[in-house]
Symmetry: D3
Subunit: 308 residues, 6 copies
Amino acid sequence: MNKQEGERVVDYFIVKDRETSVAANGSEYLSLTLSNKSGSLRAKLWDVTEKQKEWLLKRAIIKVDGLITFFREQRQLNIQRVRLVTEEDEIDINELVNQAFIPREELWQELRMFIDEIDSETLREIIKTLLRKKEIREKLTTIPAAKMYHHAYYAGLLEHIVTLCHVTAQVLPVYPHLNKDVIIASCILHDIGKTKALSDPVIPDYTTSGELIGHVVLSIEMILEGAIEAGISTDHHEMVALKHCILSNYRQNYQTSGVGSKTAEAIFFQHINQLDNELNAFFMIGNEACEEWTFSPMFKRKMYTYRK
Amino acid sequence: MNKQEGERVVDYFIVKDRETSVAANGSEYLSLTLSNKSGSLRAKLWDVTEKQKEWLLKRAIIKVDGLITFFREQRQLNIQRVRLVTEEDEIDINELVNQAFIPREELWQELRMFIDEIDSETLREIIKTLLRKKEIREKLTTIPAAKMYHHAYYAGLLEHIVTLCHVTAQVLPVYPHLNKDVIIASCILHDIGKTKALSDPVIPDYTTSGELIGHVVLSIEMILEGAIEAGISTDHHEMVALKHCILSNYRQNYQTSGVGSKTAEAIFFQHINQLDNELNAFFMIGNEACEEWTFSPMFKRKMYTYRK
Amino acid sequence: MNKQEGERVVDYFIVKDRETSVAANGSEYLSLTLSNKSGSLRAKLWDVTEKQKEWLLKRAIIKVDGLITFFREQRQLNIQRVRLVTEEDEIDINELVNQAFIPREELWQELRMFIDEIDSETLREIIKTLLRKKEIREKLTTIPAAKMYHHAYYAGLLEHIVTLCHVTAQVLPVYPHLNKDVIIASCILHDIGKTKALSDPVIPDYTTSGELIGHVVLSIEMILEGAIEAGISTDHHEMVALKHCILSNYRQNYQTSGVGSKTAEAIFFQHINQLDNELNAFFMIGNEACEEWTFSPMFKRKMYTYRK
Amino acid sequence: MNKQEGERVVDYFIVKDRETSVAANGSEYLSLTLSNKSGSLRAKLWDVTEKQKEWLLKRAIIKVDGLITFFREQRQLNIQRVRLVTEEDEIDINELVNQAFIPREELWQELRMFIDEIDSETLREIIKTLLRKKEIREKLTTIPAAKMYHHAYYAGLLEHIVTLCHVTAQVLPVYPHLNKDVIIASCILHDIGKTKALSDPVIPDYTTSGELIGHVVLSIEMILEGAIEAGISTDHHEMVALKHCILSNYRQNYQTSGVGSKTAEAIFFQHINQLDNELNAFFMIGNEACEEWTFSPMFKRKMYTYRK
Amino acid sequence: MNKQEGERVVDYFIVKDRETSVAANGSEYLSLTLSNKSGSLRAKLWDVTEKQKEWLLKRAIIKVDGLITFFREQRQLNIQRVRLVTEEDEIDINELVNQAFIPREELWQELRMFIDEIDSETLREIIKTLLRKKEIREKLTTIPAAKMYHHAYYAGLLEHIVTLCHVTAQVLPVYPHLNKDVIIASCILHDIGKTKALSDPVIPDYTTSGELIGHVVLSIEMILEGAIEAGISTDHHEMVALKHCILSNYRQNYQTSGVGSKTAEAIFFQHINQLDNELNAFFMIGNEACEEWTFSPMFKRKMYTYRK
Amino acid sequence: MNKQEGERVVDYFIVKDRETSVAANGSEYLSLTLSNKSGSLRAKLWDVTEKQKEWLLKRAIIKVDGLITFFREQRQLNIQRVRLVTEEDEIDINELVNQAFIPREELWQELRMFIDEIDSETLREIIKTLLRKKEIREKLTTIPAAKMYHHAYYAGLLEHIVTLCHVTAQVLPVYPHLNKDVIIASCILHDIGKTKALSDPVIPDYTTSGELIGHVVLSIEMILEGAIEAGISTDHHEMVALKHCILSNYRQNYQTSGVGSKTAEAIFFQHINQLDNELNAFFMIGNEACEEWTFSPMFKRKMYTYRK
C-alpha cells in the first residue's frame, strides 16, 4: 500500500475488521480494516445507513471508491462509495488475498522434493503420515506463519518452511557434522501446531487450544499422534532429536518453551529460523514503508527502509 | 544431620557420589557423598587402597566409623574405618533411604481417595489409565519431586501430590467458583513426566529425554498417550483445561514453558504448587541447619533457621 | 456492565472522572466515567451547555438516559438526557457504589472473630490498638485493596483481609509447624498503610505520602506507632516476624520492598496474598467481560473469560 | 506553557509538526505542534482551506489567536485565527526558540575558561582542534543535548556541558586523587557525536548515521579524526582514558555501549552526567506541569511537581 | 596488604574468622582471616595443637610470624609462629583496626558543623534527638558503611556521611533550586538503621532484625521513634521529604526498597550516594591490588588498578 | 584431551598458566595449565624444587611424564618427571599450538578469493588497505577469535572469518535482495579490533585498550584510520552500512554496543555470526568431552556430547 495523501482508490477488498461508532455529531460511522493483494488499509465510512450496516460485515468482499488521508501518521481511506461485489465483477477471492511471493503450488512441489531427500525412514514416515491427512495438509499450505510481523499472509507458513529447507541445504556443506535429516524434519514440522492454533488462513485468529496450550506443545502433540499412528516409538532417538529442535527453538528469544538447545542441530535450527523470521519481517516492513525510516513494533526500533 | 564438630559417627550409609583424587603428598583419596535416613553427608577416605577403590562404588551400602570436621563451613566426615554391609548387619535398603515424612502406603491410600472423589469421568479415567500401568505407578510413588531443594527424597513426589490435594480440598470452599476436578487432576498429573525424566528413586539423575524434552512436555506426552488409550479426545475441554494448568505452572517462576495462566484453575494451581515447593524446601533447609541463619542456593539468600 | 451495542441505559450513576473537550465542529463536549453497582462506563455528552458544565462535576450523582455504542472495542454511553438526582429519587449513595460481594457488616464480624482467635497477646493487642482508632477502622473497612485490577471496590480491602484469614484457617492444618498468629496478624495488618496511602473509599487516589513513602513502609510506620502506644517493644520477636511478613510480601512480585521472605510464615503469607489478588482480579475481569477472551493489563495477556 | 482551560492565547509560534486529517463531518483539519520560548503546544485548525494548507507548513513562523481546551488530559489550542508573520511583526526567530536558561554567549565564555584550565597539552589540543572547525563549534553550541526529556532546547547541549564542568570543578577537591583533565575533557567531548547525529538545533531529528552508528561511536570517530589532524596518537594514555569515560558512560543506564567504567574518572563522570540529565529532566517537567503530580515517560513514574 | 610472594610478615593482627579442617595427612589445621590497619589477609596454621585451638579464637589479638604464598591468585600467609599479645606488647586494639582515612574525631567535628548549618528546625531537631542517644552516636561513628566492598572499615559510615555532606555543600551552588536541608539530613540519617542492622564495628555481622527488616526500613523506624520523642509530626512535609530520599535511594540500583525518586532532592541524593560508594569501593580495590587489572566482585568486572 | 583416569601421559606441552602454592605438609607445589595440539590440561607438580621454579615459567616448552587423575570432575595430570625441551627434541612451537582445523595457508588463500570477489571498490579497498599492513595481517591470521569458548585456538579468528564468508556465499542466493559486498566486508573486518584487543596469538590476554575501549569500537577506529589512509570518506554509504553491521552485531546477545540491527544486512550478519560462534563452541566442548552430558559455562547448561 504505497498510496500518497489525497490519492483516489477504486478497488476490490475483503473486510478484515469492522466496528460501529457514533461520531461527535451523533451520526453513526464504521471503522473498517480492508485488505487485498497489495496489503491492508484502515478505512472510515461516515454516516453509515442501517442498510449498509446489515451487509457490510467482517469477511464481506466489497468494491470501494475513496480518498487517502492521514490520521496519526497512518494512511486511512475515506470511503465515498461502497457496494458488495456481484458475479459481474468476476472477482475470485484468491485474487484479493495477500499471498506468499512464490506460487503455493510451486512451494508445495519444492517441499515434496525436500521430503523425498530425507534418508531417515523414521523422519520421512512421520512427516508423510501427518501430511497425508487432508485437513493438516490444506491448513499447513495456506495459513500464515504468524498473525502479524513475519510471513503474515496466505501460505506464509509454507513459504517459511521451504525457505528454511533451502537455507539448510545450502549451509550444511559448511558444517558437514550436522544431521541433515533432523534439521529438515524440524524445518517442516516445527510449526505444525499452528494448524490447530490458528483458526483460518485468510483472517487468522488464535483458537482456544492455541491460547491455552500454545502452538509449540500443539506441534509436539500432533507429532506424537502421528508417531502412534505410524507405529513409531516416541522415544526413538531421531524423534527425540526432532522434538528437541522444536522445543528449544523458542527459548532464547521468546522464553516460552521447555529447554535450551543442547545439540548442534538445535543450535543450527534455532538460528536459521530466527534469521528467516527477521528477514521476512524486515521485507514486509519495507514493502509497506513510504519513509526512509519506519518504526517496527516487532523490532522495537526504527528500521532503515530507504529505497535506492 | 545435626552432628557437631568433633562428634563420632558410626552408622550405615548408601554411597551417592564418589570421586578419586590425589592428595598433596601423592597418595590417593576418595571424596564421597553418603546418605541415609537422616540426610546427606560429605566424607573423605584418605590413603585409599586399591582394594577399597574396587568395592567402594556409587550405590554401595557401607558401614562407616569417622569424625565430623568442618571444611568451608560444611560438615565433612573423616572416615577412619569402612566396610561393605553383610547379611549379618540385617540392613534393609529402605531403612537407609531418606523418605517422605508420612509412610508411602498411607500416602497412596490418600491419593486413591482423592481420585475417587473426582466427579468428572474424563479426568478420573485419564488418571486411572495412567496409574494402572505398573511402571508408571511404581515410579510416581517412589521418586523425589526434584533432584535437589524440595521433596528431594524417596516418595517425595507422592508426598507433594497428596499435600497439594489436601491444600486444594481445604481452600476450595473459600473459592467456590473453581472447578475442583481440574485442579485435583493437575495436582496428581502435573509432574507425571518426571517418571520419565528422572532415572531412579534413590539416586535420581536426569535421563536423556528429561534433558532434551523436559519434564513438563513429557507430562503432556504421557497424558496424551493415556488419553488415546482410554479413548478420550485430546481436545476435550477438560483435557485442555488440565494441560493448561500443567503448562502454565512453570511460566512465571522458571520461564520455561509455553503459556501464562489464563484460567482461574491455572492461577490457583500455580500458587499452591509454588507454596508447597517453597515450604518444603524451607523445612528441608531447617532440618539440616545447625546455625541461626543458613544460606539457601534455591532461595539465593540466607534463611532464618532458628529453633526456639 | 454487560450491555450490548445499541441497548438503552436509564440509570443512576456517580461521576468518577470528567473532562471538557472541543469537537471537530467547534462545539464543546464532556468525556465522563460513570460508575454504579454494576461497574464502570465511559460516556460522552455532546454539545454540552455552560449550565451543564457547572453542575456536572466529578463526584456528582446523576440520572442518565443514553445508548450504548462501541469505540475502539470499548463500550461507551452516548448520553441523550442527564440531570442531578433529587430527593425524590430516594437514592442512597451506598446503592451506587460497587461493593464487596459480602455485606461489610458481615465481613467486620468475621474479622473480629479472627482477631479473638489470636493467642498471642502481643499481636492481638497491636491489632486492637490500631482498630480502636475510629479513622483507621472506618477507612480500613471501606477502602478498596487497590486502585485498579483487584478488590478495586468499596470495602474491597476488608473483603481481601477476611478472605486471607479464611484461607489461612483452612490451609494451616496441612502445615502444622507454621505460627498461625503471625500469619493472621499479617493478613489483617499488611495493607493498613493503604488507609494513609489512598485518599477516599469511593474515588480513591494516591495521597502525597502514598506516593513518596509507599503503602508498605506506611504500614510499618503505623504498626510502630501502635506498638509505642500499646507499650509493645518494636523489637519483640513476634513484631519482627509480623513486619518481616509484610516487608517480604512485595519482593518477589513487584520488587519494591526490602527483603525476601526468610521465614516459613513469610513464604506462606506471600503466596496466599498473591493467590487471592490474582483470583480476585480474574473474577473482576470475568464480571466485566462480554467476549470469550479478554485482554488484561494486569496479567499482560488475554484471559479466558468464557462462560459455560 | 501554564495556560488554564478556556484561556485565550494570542502569540507568535514556529510550527514544529503538521498533519492533515479528515474530520467526522468530512471537512479537513490540521493537527499542529506549535513552539515558542514558553514551550510546546498541540493545536487544531478546523475546516482548513486549501490556501491555508499551502502556506501553513512545518517550520513556518505564524501568529495565532485561539482558546485553550483539554483533550485526554493534554492542553490543546483551538485555533480561531492564524497568519504568517510579516516584516511588520518584527519577530526574530531566536525570540521564538526555547533556549538554555543562561545566554549562549555567556556559556561559551565559561566553556573557553574551562578549556584554558586544562593542564594536559594533549587533551587541550584535541578539544581545540575540534572546536576550531566552524561547523562543529556552531552545532555544538546550538543543538539540544537530546531530542526529548532533558536539555531538549536550543543550546541545551552547551548548557549541559558547562554545568558538568562546574560540578566537576566543585566536587574534585573532595576526591583529590582523580585526574581533573580527563574528566573535564569528557564533559566537553562526550556528546560531540551528537553534532553529526542530530540534524538541526531548532527541530532536531536523527540523521542516518545517528541511527546506524549511534552518537557514542560518532563521538569516538570525531575524536579520532581530530587526533589524527592534531598529530596525537590514538593510543596515547590520556586519549584512551578520555574515550573510556565516553564509552563507559552509557553502560549501566542505557546498556548501549562497549564497556563498564573501570577507572575512577569514568565512575565519576558517569554519575555526574546522569545526575545532570535527571535533574534537568525533572526541572523541564516541573516547568510544564500544572498539577501536583505529573507522569514522566522518561522516569516511567509520576513526579512530584508541587510548587510551594 | 601489598606483600610479594615469599616475603616474611612479622606483625600484630586481630582474628576475624577461624575454621578447623583436617588435612590430607590426617593432621588438623586452622584457616584464619587476619586483619590490621593495612587490610585483611588469609592465613593457614598447619599441624595446629589442641592448646592452640583453645586460645586462637575469633576476635583474638595475636602476634604472627610467617611467609606470603599465593593460592588461587590470592595472597595467603603460611604461619610459622603465633602467640597471643601480652601487656608487654603495648598494643592498643585501635591500632589494629583498619580505619577511615581521616581521624574519627575530626570527622565528628565536621559532622557537627554540617548539623549546625541546617536551617530547618524540624530536621536539625530530629538529627540531634537521635545523635543525643549515646548508643546510637557511638555506633554511628564507629561502624563501617557496609560489611564488604565500600567504606568497609572502622568509622567507615561516619567517613561516608561526612564526604556526602562535603559533596552536597560543593555542588549545591550549581543547582540552587534544591532544598539543602533535606539533602544534608538525608546524608546524615540515610544509613542510621545500620546501627541496628550491623552487630559490631570491628567484626560486623547482620543482626536478626538487619536480616528480617533490612537497614532501610530500620532507618525509617528509628527516625519515626526520634520524631515521636521530639514531638515532630511524622507527616511533617520535611520529614516526608527526608524519608522519601532514604527510601528512593535504594530503588534503581538494588531494587530493594519502596519507591523511585520523585523529587529533585531524592534524585540528587541517590546519585551522590552511589558516586561515593563506587569511588570508595574503587579506592579500596586499588589499595589492595598488586596487579594492573583486578577483578571486583562488586563491579562484576576487572578494574584498572594501574599505578603510575 | 580424551585420556582416562590412571592413563600415563608422556608428551610435549607449552605452559599457559603457572601458580605457586604451599601444601598442607608445608612443601611447595606448582599448579600449571599445559597445552598442546590436543587441547588443555591442568597439572600439579608436587614438592617443586627452587631450581624447577626458576625455569618452569609461563610460556616454557616442556616435556612431561605423569598420570591422569580426576579432581572435582576435571582431569588433572600428576607430573612425575618434567624438563625443558632441548634442541634434540626437534620440537617446533607450531606443533604444540592448538590450531584451526584447516591449515592457515589454505584459509588465507580462501580469504583472498573472497576479497577479490567483492565488487564494491570502496569496500575492497578498505579491506586491502588494512590487510596490507604486516602487523595487522599477521595478527588477524594467527589470533584466536576469543580467549575462551569458541575458536579459542591459533588462527581461530581466520577460520571463523572464512567460515562466515562461506556461509554467506551459500545462503545469499536464497535472499537475493541482500548486498553481498557489505556482508562479506563485515565477515572480514568485524573482529579486526581484536588484533589490538588481544595480546598474543598463543597465550592471548586482553590489552589495556582491549579492556578500556573494547574490541568493537577498536574495530571501528581501525576501519576509520584505514579509510583516511585510503582516501575514503567515513560517511560513504557503504562504509556506514559496514560499520552498522559491526556495531549492531553485539546488541541482542551481549548488549555491549550502540545500535540494534536496522538493515537486512545487519540482521543477516548478526545471525550467521552467532550461529558460527555457537556451533564452534559446541564442537570444542564435544572434542574435550568424555561424558554423555557436559556442562558448558558459555551456554550455562549441560550440552549433549554423546558420540554414536
